[in-house]
Symmetry: C2
Subunit: 140 residues, 2 copies
DNA sequence: GATATATTTGCAAATTTGTCGCAATTATAT
DNA sequence: ATATAATTGCGACAAATTTGCAAATATATC
């Protein structure tokens, strides 16, 4: 059960699983990445704005959520701990976002490239833009 | 000379290379990605805040600069037109953003991974997060 | 369960970021 | 040098994010 993992992560840091934290976690569960605006409005009357910012900041620090770059804005999604590691492909034509399976060799190479320059990689994010199969077939 | 390319890009759109635009371009030249805050303060007394926002928006539209989402905020850097293709490493501790040389093998593999799922990749963006050499040496 | 303790929340106010209209200024072509 | 169209700075807004603090709530202990 996902709530157990969440609880465990919090307890490990001597933090508690409060009502607002559970609500925010649930807003993210089984959903596509969401903007702050959307999270705030979906939690309206249940969780205060300030609490949402504080919670997302905490969740990110604990590796529970992840900020995703989509165009200019960022969106929040649960981290690899709750959904497998993956990348995104954005179609420039139809605008769809597809997920790409993590590829072990690619993942390794990414870490290697960073380590080579004396960095200690913890996580990464890869976004590919182009044309999806459908759109490539029938040009505009 | 970089200013010539900048001028050419502007002229092509019937726009002019003004003092503020040159100043902002110079603030970006040969520097790591910078936040708006930093740009605004570095340009203090020379260019108005509103002009900086308008100029960055214009530069982005013309493909002169590129916006990176880093944490809550974003940072601006010159596009691949002025600096070769590269990736970024963001230090979770000190907040610095470093550039990583593009690695031909890695680039190829990224395209291959996308092609394998029937996508036609055009561009991509890779952000690695972790600890930079300095911060890894002396933990918090 | 009830209680003590430390954490966490909601609220309201402050700060920071980003936008807009418009008169004054500046670049470009003539 | 001048006309014309683009561009800037300014001040006022509007939106996004942060902060301090008293009240509420979770957790461990009895």
């Amino acid at each position: 059960m996902h709530h157990d993992s969440l609880h465990a992560l919090l307890v490990k840091e001597k933090l508690s699983l409060t009502r607002p934290r559970r609500i925010i976690f649930d807003l993210l569960l089984h959903k596509d990445p969401q903007s702050m605006q959307v999270l705030i409005s979906r939690a309206a009357n249940k969780v205060d704005r300030a609490t949402i910012y504080r919670t997302i900041e905490l969740f990110e620090r604990l590796g529970i959520v992840h900020r995703l770059n989509i165009g200019w804005k960022y969106k929040i999604e649960l981290s690899d701990l709750f959904v497998g590691h993956h990348h995104h492909f954005h179609c420039n034509q139809c605008g769809a976002t597809h997920t790409l399976q993590a590829n072990p060799m690619l993942e390794t190479m990414i870490d290697t490239v960073a380590a080579k320059e004396n960095f200690s990689p913890r996580s990464h994010q890869l976004e590919i833009h182009g044309l999806c199969g459908q759109c490539a077939g029938q040009p505009a």
